[in-house]
């Protein structure tokens, strides 16, 4: 479905994505995992052909660089937060994007119904909650029934209920045979949705693995946020990675994915490395509902 070969993207002297290559089969789902600034969003933008890059990428055999708009006709894109004119009504937004994607007008109503937004057509975008905006973005992505859905941290701005809704919908899409590529900071989402995980660090592929290898536990995973002295964060993150934890720095401490019955383990690791933990908190737990086939 999608092939990336040596995709490299530089912003001046900074290399945001470096020599990333992978193939993803039809119907598979791939998570892009990594800390902020690891290159997940930039890689997604390269794959969508919305920024210039070196290397090659194709979607369904269509070259993204040479035939960008034809390649994007095969993709539904869901951003981190729906960015569209706030005073536009849902029905108007759907009609506009249906026009861009050459979808039949009836398809707009079907897509809204598919994400549970029927009855909200007269509402303006600004009046929607974060979860509803993401569902609207998903409805827009589904307008032309594309085989590939690309999502850039689709739940990062949502509360636990909103996250659960979006994950539930994505699982349904996966079961229906859609190919998914998504960036995420949350291990529970990756475990629930991904067949495969590409771990990015400073724009490079650190690991190409599976959720089961990345978090080898049958037990539910929870995310612990640890607050340390700013200057020690990089060293502390490295120490945790060496101890086998999945870690990311998000500007507000270290987020560590741990099994629910081993939440103190990262603190012990820090104690061994003489890194003082000033505070810790448990992030919201996401209950991923089972989807009836």
């Amino acid at each position: 479905m999608i092939t990336a070969t040596n995709v490299t993207k530089k912003f001046g002297p900074v290399t945001a994505v470096s020599d990333v290559s992978f193939d993803l089969a039809d119907g598979a789902s791939l998570a892009l995992w990594g800390s902020n600034g690891a290159g997940k969003t930039t890689l997604i933008r390269c794959l969508l052909g919305v920024c210039r890059f070196k290397g090659r990428a194709s979607i369904g055999g269509v070259d993204v660089r040479r035939r960008g708009r034809h390649a994007r006709a095969l993709v539904g894109y869901v951003p981190q937060e729906l960015a569209f004119h706030d005073d536009v009504r849902l029905a108007s937004a759907m009609n506009f994007f249906a026009g861009l994607r050459r979808a039949a007008p009836a398809r707009a109503a079907q897509s809204l119904a598919a994400v549970g937004l029927t009855g909200h057509e007269r509402k303006r975008v600004r009046d929607l909650s974060g979860g509803m905006k993401q569902r609207l973005a998903l409805a827009i992505a589904l307008l032309s029934d594309p085989p590939l859905i690309v999502l850039d941290e689709p739940t990062s701005n949502l509360d636990a209920a909103g996250r659960g809704e979006v994950v539930h919908t994505l699982r349904a899409l996966k079961q229906a045979g859609k190919t998914l590529i998504f960036a995420s900071h949350r291990p529970d989402e990756v475990i629930a949705l991904a067949d495969r995980v590409i771990v990015l660090e400073r724009g490079r592929v650190e690991r190409d693995t599976t959720p089961a290898e990345l978090w080898p536990t049958e037990k539910p995973v929870q995310v612990v946020r640890l607050h340390l002295a700013m200057a020690r964060e990089e060293d502390a993150a490295e120490a945790l990675r060496q101890a086998g934890h999945a870690v990311h720095l998000n500007g507000e401490g270290l987020c560590v994915a741990v099994a629910r019955d081993r939440k103190a383990e990262p603190i012990s690791t820090h104690a061994r490395h003489h890194n003082e933990v000033r505070d810790n908190e448990m992030l919201d737990d996401v209950q991923v509902p089972e989807v009836t086939p």
Partner: protein, 300 residues
């Protein structure tokens, strides 16, 4: 959220590389953006403000500049067109430059640009669609202002000089398209909407005030010949517009001094076409440049 309707997620049985709905045709994509831009523009405050302001000023100028001249208090369309000339030269470029300046920079700043570019459209379709939509809205705004003014004039003074008035409307529309192109070019190269608007205001000031003074100073300092002054003058689309409107009022360019006389003498009947072509070039060249620069941008 309920389970997804099966009709929304049936893509998997489709052959790879063939979406159910392939990308829109080139013109279809432009039309889709143009429709949205037009709808957004006419629903916006700037459109309402400019339209009301232009209409009030146009009618006001008609009354103030010509009252007492004719037997009915009006001297017809021809004299009104002359009165409106200076108003148009001030207001219309400002409208068009600021509207164009927000076109791309505004989308970039709101974060909507990346989302639009992630759809099955090209950058060229996006920028041309926005231009067409804004141009249509601007011309509609001008037509409302000129239309109300014309209705008042027709009621009070009949149809005398209506051709000159119609040519004023046509050249005003052309000037608006030219300034909109410049505004869009500014928008493409500006990261932020406020910066784009600031540059647009600076360009407006330069074209309206500074270039005239600069030309006068240069002609004295460098002892420019009359043909050189004329060539430099028509580089400014405002000057081309002014000369074109005066010529079309069947007035002599002698009122502009030796330069006007030189233009009338050397170009004769081709003069209005030369001036129109100059303004048209101002509409085409910045837009082409904006399209190329936008298509070649490294990132959204």
């Amino acid at each position: 959220m309920t389970a997804l309707a099966s009709s929304a997620i049936t893509a998997s049985d489709r052959p790879l590389g063939s979406a159910a709905t392939p990308a829109r045709s080139f013109v279809g994509g432009i039309a889709a953006f143009a429709r949205r831009e037009f709808r957004d523009a006419i629903a916006s405050r700037w459109f309402l403000l400019y339209t009301v302001a232009f209409t009030v000023l146009a009618v006001g100028v008609s009354f103030l500049s010509l009252s007492g001249v004719g037997s009915h208090g009006f001297a017809g369309f021809g004299r009104t067109a002359a009165g409106l000339l200076n108003l148009v030269m001030l207001v219309v470029p400002l409208m068009a430059l600021t509207a164009g300046a927000g076109a791309i920079a505004g989308e970039r700043e709101r974060g909507t640009l990346i989302y639009l570019l992630a759809q099955p459209v090209s950058r060229t379709q996006l920028i041309l669609g926005k231009y067409v939509g804004l141009a249509t809205a601007l011309v509609c705004s001008l037509c409302i202002g000129f239309g109300v003014s014309a209705a008042v004039l027709a009621w009070r003074a009949g149809g005398v000089g209506i051709t000159a008035y119609a040519m004023l409307v046509a050249f005003t529309a052309l000037l608006a398209l030219a300034m909109l192109s410049v505004g869009v070019l500014i928008s493409v190269v500006s990261r932020r909407s406020a910066v784009a608007t600031g540059i647009a205001l600076f360009v407006w000031l330069t074209l309206v005030f500074v270039s005239d003074l600069g030309l006068m100073a240069s002609s004295i300092l460098f002892r420019l010949r009359v043909q050189e002054i004329f060539s430099l003058a028509i580089v400014n689309p405002m000057q081309s517009f002014k000369m074109a409107v005066i010529v079309n009022m069947n007035a002599s360019l002698d009122v502009l001094g030796p330069v006007g006389a030189y233009a009338s003498f050397t170009l004769g009947r081709a003069l209005p076409w030369v001036l129109a072509a100059t303004i048209a070039a101002w509409a085409a060249v910045p837009l082409v440049l904006a399209t190329i620069l936008f298509a070649r941008r490294n990132s959204p």
